[in-house]
Amino acid sequence: MLVGRVIGNVVATQKNDKLRGAKLLLVQPLDLQQRPRGAAVLAIDSVHAGVGDRVLIVQEGRAAQLALGQGVAAVDAAIVGIVDALELDGLEGHGSGA
């Protein structure tokens, strides 16, 4: 799993049937210093996250399908948690701003 920040929401009327009703959010993965890391991903939201939230995302098909709850579906990323706090003990960059 990765920690990321929800940076936007995506509206797509025409999509795969299994994705009907699913909420799609843009998530920017973060490094331990809370800086953007890599490309932003589009993830199914299963925990009612919103823009600005720090979240836990899975980037694996099976896990994302479980989060979506539609059986076998064409999804490969999902938000599975909202991060309340993240503590980095003994690492540079301590202080997550949580």
Binding site: V11, K15, N16
Partner: protein, 88 residues
Amino acid sequence: MWLARVVGTVVATRKDPGLAGTKLLLIQPLTPERTPHGKPIVAVDSVGCGVTEEVFFVRGREASFPFLPAEVPADAAIVGIVDHWSLG
């Protein structure tokens, strides 16, 4: 999933039988700011989109799922057409 823009079509007469009848599109992955991200890839279309449209796609094993029970040997599939997105 990832954002992309459809930038072209691919025609391949001789291909794996599992790909018969599929529409192959060339897509350019995008950042949320609409700048190209990485190299263009070929993806199978599962939603009926066309060139210049903004879409999202899945990569990996899940790319074949929209076509079940047919087994399509694809590693990227377009699964939605994006109407718009907003950055908070």
